[in-house]
Symmetry: C2
Subunit: 306 residues, 2 copies
């Protein structure tokens, strides 16, 4: 019985189709199909059966997939023990990130890891809160965020590390009447036109809360994903918007004012599957991200004091 085959079965169980597994493994479906048949021949059991357009694990395949989960976890633990005892962390760590969080966290990370045996591989995406967890299938570490809690929805099975709690401020054009105030209430902001984000995107929960609190519906001029674009439009006077405090670069024509009276902050977290998190390199990178996040908070406080 080979690890390669166990791994394949586990992936089929998780992802459901050969095409999906092949894409994740950068292989062709044909290769995996052949591997499956080799495994079946060696074990003397049928492992998958056709169903609709795809395949499904047989009882035997499922049994092995479950066992594989355990065995691969133990192999990962052994590897971690080895790395701990015999040297410094090494290898490739694949990070998937929110663009906004990545912009603040990743440049220092690259700087710190220069010269170590850890190699970073990046991917970025902007998703609904509950979709971050699924990305941990592909990435060792997923940097995601949560508006309501410190653990994003769907991440209960994952290792979740809080990196920063980042306030979400109201971005205003410099000449905006509200710009003179040092903080803003839901009442204040509900009267103006907003630049929103798509529905079900995390940031949207805050204007929704404002609407519930004030009983007044907010006028959203547009729904955009990209914060840079939003910044530019705020500067143009197209509306006010929610922007994360640490990752919004100061920009002429735009000021940030804290929003009080609703929970206006996001938790930026690092998520990993337990088996991937056992790798020393993955823990190391997560720890460094947490330290960088902490520094971000400190810098924020210092700037406020000035």
């Amino acid at each position: 019985m080979e690890v390669r085959h166990l791994d394949l079965l586990r992936e089929i169980a998780r992802r459901g189709s050969l095409v999906a597994v092949a894409a994740a493994a950068h292989r062709t479906p044909s290769a995996l199909s052949q591997q499956l048949r080799t495994a079946e021949r060696e074990l003397g059991v049928k492992l998958v059966e056709p169903v609709s357009r795809g395949i499904r694990l047989t009882a035997a395949g499922q049994l092995l997939a479950e066992g594989a989960e355990d065995i691969l976890q133990r192999i990962a633990e052994l590897q971690a023990r080895l790395e701990e005892s015999a040297g410094s962390p090494r290898g490739q760590v694949r990070i998937g990130t929110l663009p906004s969080a990545g912009e603040a966290l990743l440049p220092p990370l690259f700087r710190e890891l220069a010269g170590t045996a850890i190699e970073l591989d990046l991917d970025d995406f902007d998703l609904a809160e509950e979709d971050f967890a699924a990305q941990t299938l592909d990435a060792d570490i997923v940097i995601g965020h949560s508006l309501t809690d410190d653990v994003p929805a769907g991440a209960s099975e994952l290792v979740s590390t809080l990196l920063v709690r980042e306030p979400l401020d109201i971005a205003l054009p410099e000449q905006h009447p509200l710009a003179e105030r040092s903080s803003l209430s839901p009442e204040d902001v509900s009267r103006f036109t907003w630049l929103g984000v798509p529905q079900r995107y995390p940031f949207d929960s805050i204007p929704v809360a404002v609407e519930q609190l004030t009983g007044r519906s907010i006028n959203r001029a547009v729904r955009l994903r990209d914060n840079r674009l939003v910044e530019a439009l705020v500067a143009e006077g197209q509306g006010i918007a929610l922007l994360p405090r640490f990752t919004t670069r100061p920009r002429p024509g735009v000021v940030l004012r804290p929003l009080t009276g609703v929970r206006a902050e996001r938790a930026i977290v690092a998520l990993s599957r337990p088996d991937r998190y056992t790798r020393l390199a993955v823990r190391e990178v997560t720890d460094r991200l947490a330290a960088i996040g902490h520094q971000l908070t400190e810098d924020g406080k210092a700037a406020e004091a000035v």
Copy 2:
């Protein structure tokens, strides 16, 4: 990290040298040496270091070898679960046996297994009691014996299954004066010339016990290993000897008489390493051996009653 490499490290830990591992695996030492270097390259750690004429595992190698033990055991368990759920036992089972015990136990076993997917592979040897355990490195099941206990010396870590308790009788020429008695005492037998076995061979413990009990030294004409040869010489009147009751074929000119007053029986046991014993086929064969052994005892009683 590949199972193949883990297995290699475990075997090196157990057997001590590449040549020994190569012999057991039917590979050349060169192949293993190259595998080792591939493993070292992949893991980024030195796994072995030269010492005297051979090699020795480094700390890292040892760590992995220990982890391998656990992981390979779990893989074996998974395989067993698969076989249990998905069909009948199959594959090759390698048995190493004492010739005398094998003669009685194996023919029925072959008969029973004809037509199943279990294939037997045999090896035979005649060893000192404490050397049987070492044979479990190579064989799935080792049929050995113990004179003093139901578990042979050195087998405490192994799965040990009692197959038969076989009386060891005194073989006499038909015309021998003692042949008229229905059972013999240490006093009786210590006066005659014996055909013995080499020192430290299990059977030797009984004449030694007789010597201690009677305070008289036994005259051993020769020291032989092969029971057939001993039978032939007993028939020739060259002396009396200890022979196992069930595995001594009745033969004109020779009679067997029970020896009383000392523990004159051997326990025939099947030994397996725990990881090999998890295989369903191995358990199946062990069970069948135990059943055959039980039948042997029953047949013995029936014959006595006649």
